[in-house]
Amino acid sequence: MRYLPLTEPDRGAMLSTIGVDSVDALFAELPKGEPTFDLPNTQSEINVERAMHAFARENLSCSDVPSFLGAGNYRHHTPASLDHLIQRGEFLTAYTPYQPEISQGTLQTIYEFQSQVALMMDMEVANASMYDGATACAEAAAMACRVTKRSHVLMSGAVHPHYRDVTQTQLKHLGLEIECLAPDPIGVEDLIGRVGGDLACVVVQNPGFFGHLTDLTALAEACHAEGVLLVACVAEPVSLGLVTPPGAMGADIVVGEGQSLAGPASFGGPGVGLFATQEKFLRQMPGRLCGETVDADGRRGFVLTLSTREQHIRREKATSNICTNSGLIALAFTIHMTLLGEAGFAQLAEVNHANAVTLATRLNNIDGVTVVPQAFFNEFAVTLPRPAVEVVEDLAANSILGGVPVSRFYPQYEELANMMLVTATEMTNESDMEALVTGLGEALS
């Protein structure tokens, strides 16, 4: 067994030191009788690889076909140096940095992550990460209720349906009311008209789940006039290279999903939840925070701080029960942002938008296809003349991953049955677009 260093002579010598005659004797307090398990025995590395390749072969990888999938999970290019760096054992196989003297590497990268996220969102502070965008959204809504001491959360119909569902689940026993407005593909819901002194927060997403971009400034002003917090979700952080960030439009808490900048989709997990807010709300924030300090010699160093908010100190009075978060994915996010830099990040966003504009124009020219949003970043909804789920299957049969049918999230809304989300990124080239335009034309003819 290649992962177990002890030899039989080692075990014998150690048992004799302990003063028992067998390893099994160490388990004497367990219930008597050996359970049996219907599971295979140990396998060589070669055989495990074969078995895992067999699973992989039954999937259609996005790397092998034109892919236009998004809906909160985006496929971007991962620089080779990024994957190398996150596989350095000193990062990969370290625990949470509880011993700061021997964890300055992890701690400084968390500090850089917090700084980058705050800058991108145009907010004052960011935490060390949450599990994903959906759980970060739920934590933001709960935090808004703590800050305002109000109990009514209003969620826009443009927020990712998983974020809405997770928020409803996670807050269901806290005596709060989570009101989710109907899905809003074209951005017509009247949020400002709904703002009032009863609300703890309004939760929006920009770009919205259906792709449209919205100026949040007037909504933020309306919220603040009534003591309501504006929570903004960003499911595609690459947009922040080109689009005015929520903080600049007046958001009080900004959450997001960092996966698109951190690495491959990996079937949707693990991702990394982004969480940023204003300093005045610091004590109500969930999750870990890394802060700057000095060591015994007066040199700058970093530590986990303000832990009196957290479960290991505060127990049932903590701001959240989160412990392990998404450290390594946050590191990948940070390294990618550092590789990109200001110019690279802006360029990445420009290329995404240009490709999406080109694709939207071409799809809109197909008979029966209408692009829904006027303003968008790299993703937009289109309406089709027949159910999107069938069209997507037809495209997949022709080796095109053409889009995500909205009915996958909202099966109960018949009026959304013909709607599909389409994404173009820097990975989308001319031949991919041609394949989709041709394939969609055929599927609809």
Partner: protein, 509 residues
């Protein structure tokens, strides 16, 4: 030695130990380490929302970025580089086969919303993982989507509350938690709307069963118990506790943080467990990554299975199908969705590769070696240290600070002194039930030679502490690290949580 550690260098670097500034402080050339073809056109459909101000990021080339993060990585202790006996954390070897498999394009580069016909392999992998977890625990259902241990606890307690609601018993408002529990247990119960009451220990490091059964009643919704517990001991009356809990109409949640000790040796069905989360990033070898990602699949008993969260897989005529909505005929009682997408798939791949590598025989050997290693530490270190409880321990050995009495050396100082010797300190001051705790979990992936070197080092440190007059030296450790003790009070009193450009910084002060 002290003389050498005081040598000043011009650069601030010290041999292989480099001083490394923040990326924001590196000379920014306004360059980028990423090349992209320019956009094909500049038509804009942003609706007037084009960003007006720069983000404020530095621009560096690839070699500069690689060197920056390489140097930072070298300031970390890790399981790859040394012994990491951090109690309750199961810092075992992370096989690189797992990493290689997670990066296969057919597993890493698949999208959560592809047509189901194109991801049957991913579904089969998840279903296979579920089969292993159910078989190893003897429970009939598993919710795969929780993202970490605390998230798995939330899953279990949410399922318990849903079951009480379905049975019309939602007036149960109390969850009982032993005083030795992890902080996540009471925090989780509170999120589920329960008040938390603490149950005392019995003096032998285990739950006081009489106190527990006396407290049970019609207001108690659940009992959460870590087993093996945070003192490293098996709760040998677990089944009796479960029976009493069930007789009182409550559910029995087992915190699975310490499952590594008992894999392949007992099933949860034998222990009367209704729900338990499994930390794939502890027991099943997926890397901790400096604080995640984890995965906390939660096994559920027959009584709780109908309330499992969305999504989950079912077998139907076309193969496997993901049930994603509460309106689905297969999910009439699910308590809802608790995580985006389908769970921590990348972690599932790694954990399954590990389980298949070890097999059931290897997993049983692994728990045996983990317990053997812990007992070896317990016996050898008892020569100078004070074990908190007599007798055999499970996968971790608990000591308290009686051996440091009158030395002036605290648990913290003693633990920090191990760092200069090249070892990661054990968990300190946890569990709270003994004074000045040192909780050591060696895991099964350490050799006898490593354990012997560690024991000899810790015994020597203990003798040194006891020799008298050493308090100051211990208090000033570690000396040989990139940074010495950090001022945590200052960090909390005047929080500086991000880099700021200079003008902004002045404006804020």
């Amino acid at each position: 030695m002290t003389e050498y550690s005081n040598i000043e260098t011009t650069s601030g670097n010290r041999g292989l130990s480099f001083e490394e500034p923040l990326i924001f402080e590196l000379d920014s050339q306004d360059s980028s380490a990423v090349d992209l073809d320019p956009p094909s056109h500049d038509m804009d459909r942003l609706g007037g929302l084009r960003r007006r101000l720069p983000v404020g990021l530095p621009g560096l080339s690839e070699p500069e970025v690689v060197r920056h993060y390489t140097r930072l990585s070298q300031k970390n202790y890790s399981i790859d580089s040394g012994f990491y006996p951090l109690g309750s954390c199961t810092m075992k070897h992370n096989p690189r086969l797992n990493e290689k498999m997670a990066r296969l394009p057919g597993l890493g580069d698949i999208h959560p919303f592809q047509p189901e016909s194109t991801v049957q392999g991913a579904y089969k992998l998840m279903d296979t993982l579920a089969t292993w977890l159910k078989e190893l625990t003897g429970l009939p259902a598993v919710a795969l989507s929780p993202a970490a241990g605390a998230h798995g606890e939330l899953c279990g307690i949410m399922a318990i509350r849903a079951a009480h609601q379905a049975a019309g018993n939602d007036d149960r408002k109390v969850v009982l938690v032993p005083e030795s529990a992890h902080g996540t247990n009471p925090a989780t119960a509170a999120i589920c709307g329960y008040s938390v009451e603490s149950i005392p220990g019995n003096g032998n490091g285990r739950v006081d069963v009489d106190a527990l059964t006396t407290r049970l009643g019609p207001d108690v919704a659940a009992v959460m118990i870590t087993n093996p517990n945070t003192c490293g001991l098996f709760e040998n009356e677990a089944k009796a506790i479960a029976d009493a809990v069930h007789a009182a109409g409550a559910y029995f949640y087992m915190d699975g943080a310490n499952f590594n000790a008992i894999v392949g040796r007992v099933t949860l069905s034998e222990l009367g467990v209704d729900a338990m989360h499994i930390n794939l990033h502890k027991t099943f070898s997926t890397p901790h990554g400096g604080g995640g990602p984890g995965a906390g699949p939660t096994v559920l008993s027959e009584a709780l299975a109908p309330f499992a969260p969305l999504p989950f897989l079912v077998h139907d005529a076309n193969g496997l199908r993901m049930v994603e909505h509460s309106g689905d005929k297969d999910a009439p009682q699910s308590f809802g969705r608790m995580k985006g997408y389908h769970g921590q798939f990348g972690v599932f791949v790694r954990a399954l590769a590990y389980m298949m590598s070890l097999g059931i025989d290897g997993l049983r050997q692994a728990s045996g070696d983990a317990v053997l290693n812990a007992n070896y530490l317990r016996v050898r270190l008892s020569e100078e240290l004070t074990p908190s409880y007599d007798g055999i321990c499970m996968h971790e050995a608990l000591f308290d600070d009686r051996f440091l009495k009158d030395t002036g050396v605290s648990t913290l100082d003693f633990a920090k002194s191990m760092i200069d010797e090249g070892f990661h300190p054990p968990t300190m001051y946890f569990p709270l039930v003994v004074h000045g705790a040192l909780l050591m979990e060696p895991t099964e992936t350490e050799s006898k030679a490593t354990l012997d070197q560690y024991c000899e080092t810790v015994l020597a440190l203990a003798r040194k502490a006891k020799s008298g007059g050493m308090a100051e030296e211990f208090a000033s450790s570690p000396q040989l690290t990139p940074r010495r003790r950090l001022d945590e009070t200052q960090a909390a009193r005047k929080p500086i949580l991000r880099w700021k450009p200079e003008p902004l910084k002045h404006a804020a002060e």
